[in-house]
C-alpha cells in the first residue's frame, strides 16, 4: 500500500520536475498592441468596477492589446498573488494592482518587476514609508491613487461647513489597521482641529466596510444610541456611506452627511436633499490612465522620470449643484493626469 502511494507521489514529482516554463518573462514588443494589461483589485468591491470601463476606453483609444479585470483575490494577499500569477501565466504582461496589504504588496511588485513586467500601484500605494518623500521605495513603476488623507479632509471640511462650523461629528470608515484608513482618520482630525474646538469628534467607527449589512447595523445602533447628539456624519468608506445615507433618510434626523463615492443611492439622496454631498474618487481615471501608462512602460516607449512616483488620481466634492456634471469634470481631470504623465512624469520616444 505504502509503495503504491509513494509511486503515485513520485509520478507527481516527475510531472512537476519535467515541466518547463512557457513564458518565463515578459517580452513586450515596441507597440501597444503587444501589451495586455491585467487590472487586479484586492477583491470584489463596487469601488473597482469603473476600472473595467476605464481600461476598455484606453484599449479603444490607444490600441492596447487588451485589458482583463480579475477580482478573485478575495482580500487575501496569498489569493491575490495567485490571481496575478494566473494572469501572468495567460500572457498578460503589464499589471495595475491594488494591494490587499500595503506593506506586503511591494514584495509582489518587486517579483513582477524582476520578471520584466510593467507594474502600477492603483488606488493605493505601498505602505511602510512616505511615498511622496521616498518614491524610490515603491517597487512598482508608479502609484496612481486617491490622496486619502486629502479626500477625507475635503469631506470633513464640507460637512463642518454644512453643520454651521460647530457641533458633534461622527466618522465612519473601514479597516482600522489599513494605512489608508489611518490617513483618512488623520484628515478628518485635521479638519476638526481647524475649528478650534467648536466641532468635537463624537466617535470614529472603524471596520464596517466589509459588507453593507455590518455597516447598516453599525449605523442603526449609532443613530438609536446617539442620534440626537450627532450634528454631522462624515464617511470615508463605501459601505458606511450607503448605510449612513439610508439611516439618515429613514430616521429623518437633522444630521448633515457627506458620503464617499457615487453609488446611485447616494446620488439620489443628494438630489432629494437627504444628504449634503459626497466626495467622489476617480477609479475610472485609474483604469484609463493606468492602462496607458502601463502600456507605454511595457512597450518601452516611455520611461518614468522618477521611478515609483506618486500621482493623486483626484477627489471631487459633489453637491446638489454639480451632481449632474461631476462625471464630465472627472473625465476631464483624468485626461489632464494622462497629459501630465506624457509631458511631465515620463520621457517618451518620439
Amino acid at each position: 500500500m505504502k509503495k503504491s502511494l509513494i509511486a503515485s507521489l513520485a509520478a507527481v514529482a516527475l510531472l512537476l520536475t519535467g515541466c518547463s516554463s512557457s513564458s518565463d518573462s515578459a517580452d513586450s514588443g515596441g507597440e501597444f498592441g503587444a501589451i495586455k494589461v491585467g487590472l487586479v483589485p484586492g477583491g470584489a468591491h463596487p469601488y473597482f468596477q469603473p476600472w473595467k470601463d476605464g481600461g476598455a476606453a484606453a484599449v479603444a483609444e490607444f490600441g492596447i492589446g487588451g485589458t482583463e479585470f480579475n477580482e478573485t483575490g478575495e482580500w487575501d494577499q496569498t489569493k491575490h498573488n495567485a490571481a496575478i500569477d494566473a494572469l501572468a501565466a495567460q500572457g498578460y504582461n503589464a499589471f495595475g494592482v491594488f494591494g490587499v496589504s500595503p506593506t506586503d504588496i511591494n514584495t509582489t511588485f518587486a517579483g513582477l518587476k524582476a520578471k520584466g513586467f510593467a507594474v502600477g500601484s492603483l488606488a493605493s500605494c505601498p505602505g511602510g514609508y512616505d511615498i511622496v518623500k521616498e518614491p524610490q521605495k515603491n517597487s512598482a513603476d508608479f502609484c496612481l491613487s486617491t490622496d486619502t488623507g486629502k479626500a477625507a479632509y475635503l469631506a470633513a471640511t464640507a460637512v463642518i461647513k454644512e453643520m454651521g462650523g460647530k457641533g458633534n461629528l461622527v466618522h465612519l470608515t473601514g479597516n482600522a489597521v489599513d494605512a489608508n484608513t489611518i490617513r483618512r482618520m488623520e484628515g478628518v482630525k485635521q479638519a476638526i482641529a481647524e475649528t478650534g474646538g467648536k466641532v468635537k469628534l463624537l466617535t470614529t467607527i472603524t471596520d464596517i466596510d466589509s459588507d453593507l449589512q455590518s455597516a447598516t447595523k453599525a449605523v442603526t445602533d449609532l443613530l438609536a444610541a446617539k442620534g440626537k447628539q450627532i450634528n454631522g456624519i462624515v464617511t470615508t468608506a463605501y459601505n458606511p456611506a450607503v448605510a449612513a445615507t439610508d439611516g439618515v433618510s429613514s430616521t429623518k434626523l437633522p444630521i448633515k452627511v457627506i458620503a464617499i463615492d457615487d453609488d446611485q443611492k447616494i446620488l439620489d439622496a443628494i438630489k432629494s436633499g437627504v444628504i449634503s454631498g459626497t466626495v467622489v474618487q476617480n477609479p475610472w481615471g485609474q483604469g484609463y490612465v493606468g492602462s496607458w501608462v502601463l502600456s507605454a512602460l511595457g512597450s518601452k516607449k516611455c520611461t518614468m522620470n522618477t521611478p515609483g512616483l506618486y500621482v493623486d488620481s483626484g477627489s471631487f466634492l459633489v453637491t446638489k449643484d454639480n451632481v449632474d456634471t461631476y462625471n464630465d469634470t472627472r473625465q476631464a481631470t483624468s485626461k489632464e493626469i494622462l497629459a501630465a504623465f506624457q509631458n511631465e512624469y515620463m520621457t517618451c520616444k518620439s
Partner: protein, 338 residues
C-alpha cells in the same frame, strides 16, 4: 485484488484525482503548466497551508477543533516581526521566538479547556476573538499608520523566492518548480507523521480522540494529551504564520485571517476524521494541493469570481464523495457475492 486494495486507499485516489485535475487544466490551457506562475507558487502556498492543516490535524486527532489557528499564526508572526524590527534578531532567532509564542498560546488554550471543561469549539472561538483584538491593538499602537512590522531580516526573501534549483550537487541542481518553502513543510510532515505512527504520545492522542472514556480507563493521561495536542497545534500554527509572513513580505494583522477554513479542508479531504481517532498526515498535503490545483486551474481558465467559487464547491463536494461512492460500490459487490 492487490490493484483493488490500492484503490481503496483514499490517499491514492486523491493523489490520482489531483494529477488528473492538473493534467485536465493543463490540457485546457497550456499556461497551467507554467513553472514560474503556476507550479512554483502553487507548491509554495500548498506548503504553507499544509503546515496550517497539520496544526488543525493535531487537535482533530483528539476530536477537538482549533478555530484560533489563524490568530495563533498571526501572533507568532507578530512576535517574530517585532523581534526583527525592535531587537534586530536574526531570521532564525526571531523564528524560534515566534514559534515559541505559538506553542505558548496552544498551551494556554489547552490548559483552559482542561481546567474549565468547556468545549474546545467555544474556547478556541473565544481565543480567536481575544487574539484578533490583541494583534490589532499591538500593530496600531506600535506601528501607527503602517500597521505592520516591515523589517526584513537577512534571508527572508530567500525563503520566498528561491527554489531547489539553487541547491546543486556538482553539476546537478534541484528542480526549479520546487520552492524552498517545501522544506519546512516536509520537515513538519515527517515529524507529525513520525509522532502519530511511531510514538506513544501519538498513539495516546489517537486513543483519546477515538474514545475518551476508554482512554481514561486504559490509564492514558487524557488531560495531558489534550494539552499536548493544543501545544502541537499552536506550534505548527506558529510555523505556518511565519511561512505566510515570509511569503507575503511583511508582518501584519491580516496574517492568518483567511486560513481557518482551509486548515480543515486539507486534513478532512485527506481522510482525517472530524470526530477524532484517525489522522491522515500525508493526506493533508494531498488534500491541500488538490484544493489549490482546482482553484488556480479554474482561475487560469479565466473563470470569474462567482463561477469560480461555485465550481470549486462542486468539485470539492465530488472529491469528498469519492470515498463514500467507493464504499457504496464495495458494499454492493459484497452483497451480490453473498
Amino acid at each position: 485484488m492487490k490493484f483493488k486494495k490500492i484503490f481503496n486507499d483514499q490517499r491514492v485516489v486523491l493523489t490520482l484525482l489531483t494529477i488528473a485535475l492538473f493534467i485536465f487544466f493543463g490540457l485546457r490551457n497550456y499556461a497551467f503548466f507554467n513553472v514560474d506562475f503556476v507550479i512554483y507558487p502553487l507548491l509554495r502556498d500548498g506548503a504553507t497551508l499544509t503546515v496550517i492543516g497539520l496544526a488543525q490535524l493535531c487537535v482533530l486527532s483528539i476530536g477537538h477543533l482549533n478555530l484560533a489557528v489563524g490568530r495563533m499564526a498571526a501572533v507568532s508572526a507578530l512576535v517574530a516581526g517585532a523581534s526583527y524590527q525592535y531587537w534586530g534578531l536574526t531570521l532564525v532567532q526571531g523564528a524560534i521566538l515566534g514559534v515559541l509564542a505559538g506553542a505558548l498560546l496552544g498551551a494556554i488554550t489547552g490548559w483552559i479547556i482542561v481546567k474549565s471543561q468547556v468545549n474546545a469549539f467555544i474556547v478556541t472561538l473565544a481565543m480567536d476573538f481575544a487574539l484578533l483584538g490583541l494583534v490589532t491593538f499591538i500593530y496600531v499602537t506600535f506601528t501607527g499608520a503602517t500597521a505592520a512590522f516591515t523589517t526584513k531580516p537577512a534571508g527572508m526573501d530567500y525563503w520566498r523566492s528561491k527554489s531547489l534549483a539553487d541547491f546543486c550537487l556538482g553539476p546537478i541542481c534541484g528542480p526549479k518548480a520546487l520552492p524552498m518553502m517545501l522544506i519546512p513543510a516536509i520537515f513538519c510532515l515527517i515529524l507529525v507523521s513520525f509522532m502519530f505512527s511511531k510514538t506513544r504520545i501519538g498513539r495516546e492522542l489517537l486513543s483519546t480522540g477515538s474514545n475518551l472514556r476508554a482512554a481514561k480507563l486504559s490509564g492514558i493521561p487524557v488531560e495531558n494529551r489534550v494539552m499536548t495536542a493544543h501545544i502541537f497545534s499552536g506550534t505548527l500554527a506558529g510555523i505556518g504564520g511565519l511561512m505566510l509572513a515570509y511569503t507575503n513580505g511583511s508582518f501584519t494583522a491580516a496574517i492568518g485571517s483567511q486560513v481557518m477554513l482551509p486548515s480543515f479542508l486539507g486534513p478532512v479531504l485527506g481522510g482525517t476524521l472530524l470526530a477524532g481517532g484517525a489522522v491522515a498526515v500525508l493526506g493533508t498535503f494531498i488534500g491541500t494541493m488538490m484544493t489549490l490545483v482546482i482553484r488556480q486551474g479554474l482561475s487560469v481558465q479565466g473563470i470569474g469570481l462567482e463561477t469560480l467559487n461555485i465550481a470549486l464547491g462542486l468539485v470539492l463536494l465530488l472529491a469528498l464523495s469519492v470515498g463514500q461512492i467507493q464504499k457504496m460500490f464495495t458494499s454492493t459487490k459484497l452483497r451480490e457475492k453473498k
